[in-house]
Symmetry: C2
Subunit: 242 residues, 2 copies
């Protein structure tokens, strides 16, 4: 109730720290992987965590997320890399030091050479999400980051059904088979290559042929495509039943 309090009195509301945390997903060797950084300080010193940091006084939330992304990976949002807000986590006890509200963002990126460490000396790595979420005690992510990662993975899995975001995991030019392997890695299922091919090439706006071909996957040369303008898939790609 803003009107019921004194909005100009700084003591009328409790101060919060606001951070952004990043769930950066990619597909590496048939596995869905997330970017993790090792914490250099307490709390959770030495544990793996999601990359993130404080929102500055003059930047908006997506700007802070884009800045952190570039600092951690060198990636710039847009131009093939997808960034969207995921959810906000504000349990009073989620950070033992102080009251921190974290606005998590989801990033989908093509396979990258190697994560680069941030400006400081922290190490960073790509880890299969299955491994990051499986871990019990000692290998588990810091703070509530396992929960955030799980939410981001579920968002990505769901979005592949009704949006064209799977192309964000692919290089600028890719084959239908490579796109299919993205779906298979994210969903963790095997898809029929023939029905998949017919479906994605028949969905208007999803794929645009570039005219080139490649044999980088072996076998018969495959047509190369780039992402079409469509963002919403109609009809959607349905995830097979469990």
């Amino acid at each position: 109730m803003i009107a019921g309090m004194a909005p100009y009195d700084p003591s009328a509301f409790p101060p919060f720290a606001v951070t952004v945390d990043l769930v950066v997903l990619t597909v590496r060797s048939h596995a869905l992987c997330a970017l993790a950084v090792r914490r250099g300080e307490p709390p959770y010193q030495g544990r793996w965590a999601l990359p993130g940091g404080f929102v500055r006084g003059d930047e908006d939330l997506s700007g802070a997320a884009a800045r952190e992304l570039e600092e951690e990976t060198g990636l710039r949002a847009g131009s093939g890399v997808h960034l969207e807000q995921l959810a906000t986590y504000g349990d009073p006890k989620r950070d033992p030091r102080m009251r921190v509200v974290s606005v998590a963002h989801l990033v989908l990126a093509p396979d990258l050479p190697a994560p680069r460490a941030g400006g400081d000396a922290r190490s960073a790595r790509w880890a299969p999400v299955e491994e990051l979420l499986r871990n019990g005690e000692e290998g588990a992510l810091a703070f509530d980051h396992a929960r955030i990662l799980a939410d981001g993975v579920e968002r990505a899995r769901s979005k592949l059904e009704y949006s064209a975001l799977a192309t964000a995991f692919c290089p600028p030019e890719f084959t239908v088979g490579e796109l299919r392997r993205v779906y298979e890695a994210v969903w963790g299922v095997a898809l029929d290559p023939r029905n998949f091919h017919r479906k994605v090439t028949g969905t208007v706006g999803f794929l645009v042929p570039t005219g080139g071909t490649t044999t980088r996957q072996g076998g018969r040369p495959a047509q190369l495509f780039r992402a079409g303008g469509a963002t919403i898939l109609n009809p959607p790609m349905l995830r097979p039943e469990v």
Copy 2:
């Protein structure tokens, strides 16, 4: 970059105010309506806004949203009323007084007798969302609340497709026709009553017959149902093409 800053030094991060804003939706006389409150203080004094307020130092985000909801409407989340986090809005200039990050929540509720004013003297009303979003200058919502409302409405429209949330707009017992009028009001389309009936009664877990009937809508007596346990609809209810 948490590790790169001094996390215990209060001057190392800028202080934020954190609020929750509520998009409370209901269906009244065939129209999708949202709860709006009139602002009693500057900025935007006298303008309509979404209900909301500061998050307290010891409560989590959904707790703050539930508290504000009860203060504004007397509704308690759960038991037929749906509350979920929507998105977070943090543009540095969204509030002229100070840096405020608002975690918006979406509430779906059955038709209510009348909104009750909050503890203070502010007035409150249900307004068709079409009217709140249509308005140019003088009737427009305060702050970035038009954007928040639009995002909430789009979330609700989308969720009716693949979840059983439409029942949150209905009283505890309702007919298939009443449920259909919810879909029609939220989506703004006309649906075939016969196909709709077959579809919702054929989706397992969506509706449970109570055994009673009613003629409150006129015509032949209709069976009464309550919401089944299902949260995800399979198959989904598809929104007709544009």
